[in-house]
C-alpha cells in the first residue's frame, strides 16, 4: 500500500487534494506549513505533518524537508501537490530529490501497479495517459479534478512536526508584492460565461461585452491573447488548456476563432453559442448555436433584446 502525501502552497486547495488522495486508498498524510491541522483533518487527512512556518522562506525551500519526510516513511509513495505555479516548481525539485517520476496538471489519477495519471498534450488535441514506474510518484493535480469530501470537523488524527532542512542553493527574495490586475474570480464555477477573443478591437470595447454579460447574469471570460499579450482582462478569466476549464451551463464565445487550445477549456459547457464574422471559423464546429456576423453589431443588439 502506497504512502500518500499531499502538499499545497494554497490552503484552499487542500480539500480537493485530500479527496484525490483518499481515492487512492490508504492513509493520507497532509504536509502543512504552520500549525493549523484542523482543516486538513476535517477534509480527510489521517496524519498532519507540520512544517515550521517562516515568512522569509520561499515555498520551494521546503523541498528538502518534504523529501526527508517522504524518504523516512518509505516507499512506495505518492506525493500529490496542487498544480499551481509554485506547486510545479516543488514537484520538479522533489522529482530529482526523490528520483521520482513527475506528472503535472493531472486531470485524473489512479493507483495500482504504479500511479497512472492523465494530462493534456498537443495543446489539448489529445490526452496523454502516463504511468509512473519509480518508487515515488509526484503528481500535481489540476483544480476541479476531484470533488472535496464533505467537511467533518469532528475528524482528528496524529500531528507530527518536521524539522526544517535548509536547501543547498537558495534564491533570495528581494520583494513580494500583490499582482496588479489579478482577481479572485473563479470562472471555473460560473454557470454562465460570456467570453471574448481577439475579435475585440480595443480595451474600451469591453464595455459592450460586460453589458451583455450583465444582461445574462454571466461572468466575463476570454481567450488567452486577451488576458496575456493584450492584458485587457485578468489571467484568471482566460479559458483553455493552460487557462480555466469551465463547467458552465452557457458559454457565449464572441470573436473567438475556436482553436483547440481554447476549446478544450470551453467544451465542458453544456451549451455553446458563438458569434464570429468568419463563417469558416473552427468555433462553429464546436457550437450549438452560431451566428455569422460582426460582434460590434450583434452584441449590442443582443443586449438590447435581452433587456426588453
Amino acid at each position: 500500500m502506497s504512502k500518500i502525501w499531499v502538499f499545497s502552497d494554497m490552503a484552499s486547495r487542500y480539500p480537493e487534494l485530500l479527496a484525490a488522495a483518499a481515492s487512492l486508498g490508504g492513509d493520507v498524510n497532509a504536509l502543512v506549513i504552520g500549525t493549523d491541522s484542523a482543516k486538513a483533518f476535517s477534509y480527510g487527512a489521517t496524519t498532519v505533518t507540520q512544517l515550521p512556518a517562516d515568512e522569509s522562506r520561499m515555498i520551494e525551500d521546503y523541498v528538502p524537508t518534504i523529501a526527508k519526510c517522504v524518504t523516512a516513511s518509505g516507499t512506495p509513495a505518492v506525493v500529490l501537490i496542487s498544480a499551481t505555479k509554485r506547486g510545479k516548481a516543488v514537484a520538479a525539485k522533489l522529482g530529482i530529490a526523490l528520483n521520482a517520476g513527475v506528472i503535472n496538471d493531472a486531470s485524473s489519477v489512479k493507483g495500482g501497479d504504479g500511479v497512472t495519471a492523465t494530462h493534456m498534450v498537443f495543446g489539448g488535441l489529445a490526452v496523454g495517459t502516463e504511468t509512473v514506474k519509480s518508487a515515488v510518484a509526484v503528481i500535481t493535480m489540476g483544480s476541479g479534478a476531484f470533488e472535496p469530501l464533505p467537511e467533518d470537523a469532528a475528524r482528528k488524527g496524529d500531528v507530527v512536526t518536521a524539522d526544517f532542512v535548509p536547501p543547498p542553493v537558495s534564491i533570495k527574495c528581494l520583494e513580494r508584492r500583490a499582482k496588479q490586475n489579478s482577481s479572485s474570480v473563479d470562472i471555473g464555477k460560473a454557470r454562465r460565461i460570456v467570453s471574448i477573443g481577439r475579435g475585440l478591437k480595443a480595451q474600451e470595447d469591453l464595455a459592450m461585452v460586460r453589458d451583455l454579460a450583465s444582461a445574462l447574469d454571466a461572468e466575463v471570460g476570454c481567450s488567452r491573447p486577451i488576458a496575456e499579450g493584450e492584458n485587457w482582462l485578468e489571467r484568471e478569466r482566460y479559458v483553455g488548456v493552460t487557462g480555466v476549464q469551465v463547467k458552465a451551463d452557457l458559454y457565449v464565445a464572441l470573436g473567438i476563432s475556436g482553436q483547440i487550445q481554447h476549446m478544450v477549456g470551453a467544451n465542458g459547457a453544456k451549451t455553446i453559442f458563438a458569434v464570429n464574422k468568419d463563417k469558416n471559423a473552427p468555433i462553429f464546429q464546436y457550437a450549438d448555436f452560431g451566428l455569422v456576423g460582426d460582434i460590434y453589431k450583434v452584441v449590442p443588439a443582443m443586449t438590447a433584446l435581452l433587456r426588453k
Binding site: 488535441l125 489529445a126 514506474k133 542553493v169 457550437a287
Partner: protein, 256 residues
Amino acid sequence: MNIVACFKLVPEEQDIIVNGDRTLNLEKATPKISLYDLNAVEAATELAAAMPDSKVSALSVGGKILENSKARKDILSRGPDALYAVIDPALESALPRETAAALAAAVGKIGSYDLIICGEGSGDLYAQQVGLLLGSLLSVPVINEVSKITAGDGKVTVERTLETEVEVLEVPLPAVVCVTADINTPKIPSMKAILAAGKKPITVWSVTDIGASTGGAPVVMQSILAPAQADRKKVIVEGDSDDKVAAFVESLRKVL
C-alpha cells in the same frame, strides 16, 4: 555572458490528423519551434544584446525532427550565435526526465555557461518540468514563471509572476530560468538575419557523444488519444440582420 536557450521542435498542431480510433497521425505535420520557446530564445537574445561579449547557444535534444534544415535555420535567424543539437533515436519521444538528463549532459559538453533559459512548456507535452529538472540535475538555482530578467554582476534579478503575487528574486549565476510567454514579444527575423543564419555553426552530437545515459525512465507514456468530441447541435445562421439576431437571442433565452 554565456547564455544557453533551450528549445524543442514540435509537430505543427494544425497538420495533426486525428484518426478514427482517436490516435494522432503526426506524419504530415511539419516541424516548428515550440511556440513558447520563441520567448526563451528572444529573452536570451535580448539579454545578450544588453551585455557586452555575450554569446547565445541554442540547444535542443530529440529525434530525427532535428535534422530539419528549415527549422535549424529558423532558430538561428532569431539571434543565437550557434546551434547545438543532440539527435538520437533514444530521444525520439523522450519524456521530461530523459530530456533534462540529455540537456544536462549536452550543457556539460558545450562548456561553461552563466544562464540557461527555457520556455514555460513545450507545445506537444506541455509538461512544464524540463527546465526545473535541468536546473536541479545541474545543482544550480532554478526558478519558473519568470516574466522579466535584468542582468547584474554574477547574478540576475528576475520577476516571477505567480497566481496572485509577483516575487522579485536575486538569482546567483550559473542558473536556469523558465520564462513565461509574456516576458517579451518574439521578433520576426529580418531578411538579413535569415541570410546570416545559414553561416552560423551547427554542432550535432549523439547520446554517446555527450555521455548521457538513457533508460531507467521514471515515467512511461501509455497512450495519446484525442478526447471524444462533445455532440453539438451546430445550428449556424449566416448574417447579422435584426431578425437573425432576434432568432439567435430566442435560442439563447430557451437555455436560460
